[in-house]
């Protein structure tokens, strides 16, 4: 990086907010995705949208790449600075600007941690529903950029369903506002949705208006085991067909059940082919009625055992089993790939069977769990990235998993985004016309390709 640009960056944000020391740069060469790392040339920590604008203008003039970053917890290498340049660390911009209970919205800066936003709105009896596994560490800006989902996706959707407006700094430093606080807003192209989930490739988000929801008054959790995977699959579809939309409808496959049981001795039946974890929420009377109906459906679909949480303690126990899924799998081997291939919910059993078959064929360890109700599965591949021969098999298995999910009418990503991790499959989902359309948008907004270059739509030069 030229010293002229570095001097400008220091003038813009203050010398203490620019890191260039070798050790600091190393610490921004990775995110939570295994297999991708590259050193940036500088880490810049802006404090205001105006500073972001000036940084982008300077970088654009110098044609230096800029990688916006929150907490760096994403699973698609979305924040790895693969071409060097500047990591734009947004964690200093962490103010909750406004909680507007009359309009049920909150306005916040991108560096706010999602759990902190939820804590702040909780006292008004409200929630911000997107709750990815990293809710306690991930920033709002990062989750909006990655269009993160979470456990409540079936009923509540993903980030994009809650973003009402944005302040975005464009690649050349101009500041743009999209959307607002109105529920109805059909004016113009939906730029809010365009920037949400754009993974930092189209602009840098500096302010976010989010929709809040009333917190559910009551919740009821249930756990059901199935000796047969197809019965579990039938139960999933039958619950929805019974016109019940649980907040959460999770599945764990046999490999995951066995691993969880080995680590936590939670009393899960290791012979079960599948486990469903279900939670209904809402008004107490409705919750009771829905829970009873769910139990009825589970029984009708040959559930071997059904547990219904009678109090908060029992509810915690049920969810502890689900929370243990990733840690237990991750402890098996050094490297963990959590994928998020997603299929229509009716295809969940087919997908799980396909993943198992692929795991056997390539001799790799894969546990599958995830959000069965919305078809968003997490085939979790555990391996050792230092073993080249094993990694060769892992990457081949990965290729097939994504191919199957597309074949079943699904998508590459339910909630983690594309980044570079899944870039090589994009063409097969979108075709040449789709890719050209997306690249045209990228080029129109970022003609010098400085924003997170090489990600999501690939090279655009």
């Amino acid at each position: 990086m030229q010293s002229g640009l570095l001097d400008s960056l220091k003038r813009i944000v203050g010398t203490e907010h620019v890191l260039t020391n070798q050790e600091d740069l190393l610490c921004y060469s990775y995110d939570a995705t295994p297999g991708f790392s590259h050193m940036p040339e500088a880490v810049v920590m802006p404090g205001t949208a105006d500073e972001v604008a000036k940084v982008l203008a300077a970088a654009n003039d110098a044609k230096v790449p800029v990688y916006p970053r929150g907490s760096g917890t994403n699973l698609s290498a979305g924040t790895v600075p693969l071409k060097g340049g500047i990591v734009l660390l947004m964690t200093r911009m962490n103010k909750i600007v406004e909680i507007d209970t009359a309009n049920l919205v909150a306005v916040a800066e991108p560096g706010v941690v999602v759990a902190d936003l939820n804590k702040a709105v909780e006292e008004f009896g409200l929630i911000y529903p997107p709750d990815p596994g990293t809710v306690a560490t991930a920033t709002l800006g990062g989750t909006v950029s990655e269009n993160a989902g979470g456990l409540r996706g079936l009923k509540y959707g993903v980030s994009k369903h809650y973003i009402m407006g944005l302040e975005v700094v464009l690649a050349d430093g101009r500041i743009l506002n999209t959307g607002g606080k109105t529920v109805k807003d059909v004016a113009g192209y939906d730029l809010t949705k365009l920037f949400t989930g754009s993974e930092g490739t189209l602009g840098v988000i500096t302010k976010i208006i989010v929709k809040l929801m009333p917190a559910p008054e009551a919740r009821k959790a249930m756990l059901a085991t199935f000796g047969n995977l197809d019965d579990a699959g039938q139960a999933i579809s039958a619950i929805i067909a019974a016109k019940i939309i649980p907040a959460t409808l999770e599945i764990m496959d046999n490999a995951t059940i066995r691993t969880v049981e080995e680590f936590s001795k939670a009393g899960l039946p290791t012979s079960a082919e599948a486990l469903l974890l279900i939670e209904v929420d809402g008004i107490p009377e409705v919750v009771e009625k829905e829970a009873a109906k769910v139990v009825e459906v589970l029984k009708a679909n040959n559930a071997a055992e059904i547990r219904v949480a009678q109090d908060a303690g029992e509810r915690d126990k049920i969810w502890a089993a689900r929370r243990a899924a990733l840690p237990a799998l991750a402890k098996l081997r050094p490297t963990t790939f959590v994928e998020d291939a997603t299929v229509p919910r009716s295809k969940v059993p087919d997908m799980i069977r396909a993943v198992n078959e692929i795991a056997a064929r390539y001799n790799v360890t894969i546990g599958t769990f995830g959000h069965a109700g919305d078809g968003n599965l997490h085939p979790t591949i555990v391996c050792d990235i230092r073993d080249d021969a094993e990694m060769d098999r892992v990457y081949k298995a990965m290729d097939e998993i994504f191919a199957v999910s597309l074949k079943l009418g699904g998508t590459l990503s339910g909630e983690h985004g594309i980044g570079v991790g899944k870039l090589r499959y994009m063409e097969s989902q979108f075709g040449p016309a789709g890719m050209t359309a997306m690249r045209s948008i990228k080029k129109a907004l970022d003609p010098n390709c400085i924003l997170n270059p090489g990600k999501l739509v690939g090279e655009c030069g």
Partner: protein, 441 residues
């Protein structure tokens, strides 16, 4: 590869288990203040991996970043992969000490610490002549420096060094009629030289429960400060010395009144001698007998509750890192408190969050230590408590420092001091002055 890097090679597999999920960011007190990767475990692990891969080296920059850890173990408790990040960071520091030597302030302090008789002499002198250098503040065990001193922040409130160390105030064996147990009291440095009031409370309370206490004269520093600074060789010297010293007394139990000291005996000593089976076995034998005072009172002694008098105080508790995550003793001090009539116990938010002291961390990084402490002070204020109890001298000193500097009046004690006070209050014939004595501190 240099010998120093070889130290890191030993933990290469342990480092590789970190999946870089970043969950440690949620709980790291240093990350909360800086919001930068190098301040949190994930970043430090990445740096050690970079040294191993040859991308980086054991430089001054590496040293500076590895130093930014209070060893509170919160990351390890949180890690979904079971990575013991706190221990890996200490390994990183060992490599630094081998390559670059210790931080200058720590080097000076440990040089003195190394020679036990000299250390003892120095602290006795400090107790006698301390008032010349430190001005006593009214109302509690707190002093502030009269003139600038190397390695000490000018505004920092320290506890005064006792004019007579605890172990010189008592015979080596404090006898009781019909002893139920014979214990050896590992006083640790802060209780012997600074907070002798805690040591006195331990002895009073144990006497009240018919426990005979020996105070082995030749005991030395528990080694935790030198160990977490990466000076493993010196730590082993201390550990061996303490093991040999206490073996000679063959006590029923070893009791300490400090989370870190207890952790040293229970966990660190056996770990330190992993490659020396004979010493490891000896360390393990003593580890099995070692108890933190509240744990000993609740789990072993089943302390007397029939003769407790009233102590009227609204009390909150700070769990020291090494109590909560080092030895997992949090229920017992609460049980002690709840047994005391008159005590209104109010739990604070996140009682086990680090107070910022971090042992010798606060010597080298006082400003950060203070900022972390501000959150603790705010959590204490929310409870409305007039008294804070804890189980570590360094925490007590650091929280007192914060309270005094912000002009607040809460008192900070060791939990066992309140129990001592309750036993005293329970004695009808005891002269009334005990109450004043208590408030004098």
């Amino acid at each position: 590869m240099s010998d120093n890097k070889k130290l890191l090679t030993e933990v290469e597999d342990a480092l590789a288990n970190c999946m870089k999920c970043g969950n440690c960011m949620e709980v790291c007190p240093i990350y909360k203040e800086f919001k930068t990767e190098s301040s949190v475990a994930r970043g430090k692990i990445a740096l050690m991996e970079a040294v191993l891969s040859g991308q980086s080296d054991i430089t001054a920059g590496f040293d500076k970043r590895m130093a930014m850890c209070v060893s509170c173990k919160a990351c390890t408790a949180k890690c979904p992969c079971g990575v013991k990040a706190d221990e890996l960071i200490i390994k990183g520091r060992e490599a630094i000490v081998k390559t670059r030597g210790l931080h200058p302030i720590k080097k000076a302090a440990f040089a003195l610490l190394k020679a036990r008789p000299l250390f003892d002499f120095g602290l006795r002198m400090a107790g006698l002549f301390g008032p010349l250098a430190f001005k006593k503040l009214p109302g509690r065990l707190a002093t502030v420096a009269r003139f600038p001193m190397p390695g000490l922040d000018r505004k920092r409130i320290m506890a005064p060094v006792a004019s007579t160390p605890l172990r010189s105030q008592y015979p080596e064996v404090v006898k009781v009629d019909n002893p139920k147990f014979r214990v050896a009291f590992f006083t640790g440095c802060t209780i012997n030289y600074i907070y002798t009031d805690v040591g006195q409370a331990v002895l009073n309370v144990l006497k009240e429960n018919d426990v005979e206490v020996t105070l082995p004269a030749l005991q030395h520093c528990c080694a935790v400060p030198v160990h977490i600074s990466g000076d493993i060789e010196l730590a082993k010297v201390f550990a061996k010395h303490n093991i040999e010293t206490f073996e000679r007394y063959n006590p029923d139990y070893i009791v300490a009144a400090c989370g870190s000291c207890t952790m040293a005996w229970k966990k660190d000593y056996p770990d330190m001698f992993a490659d020396d089976p004979e010493m490891k076995a000896r360390a393990e034998k003593l580890a099995a007998k070692t108890y933190e005072i509240s744990q000993f009172l609740v789990d072993v002694v089943k302390f007397r509750r029939d003769n407790l008098g009233e102590v009227n105080a609204t009390v909150t508790m700070h769990d020291p890192c090494h109590m909560a995550r080092g030895i997992a003793v949090t229920a017992q001090p609460r049980e002690v408190l709840k047994a005391i009539p008159g005590v209104n116990f109010v739990e604070m938010k996140e009682p086990a969050r680090c107070c910022g002291a971090g042992g010798s961390f606060s010597l080298a990084h006082y400003d950060v230590a203070r900022t972390i402490n501000d959150r603790k002070l705010a959590d204490i204020a929310t409870t409305g408590a007039d008294t804070v109890v804890t189980g570590c001298g360094m925490c007590r000193m650091h929280i007192t420092d914060g309270l005094v500097q912000s002009g607040r009046n809460e008192q900070v004690f060791h939990t066992v001091q309140l129990l001592d006070k309750a036993y005293k209050a329970g004695k009808k014939d005891e002269p009334k002055k005990t109450k004043d004595e208590f408030h004098f501190h």
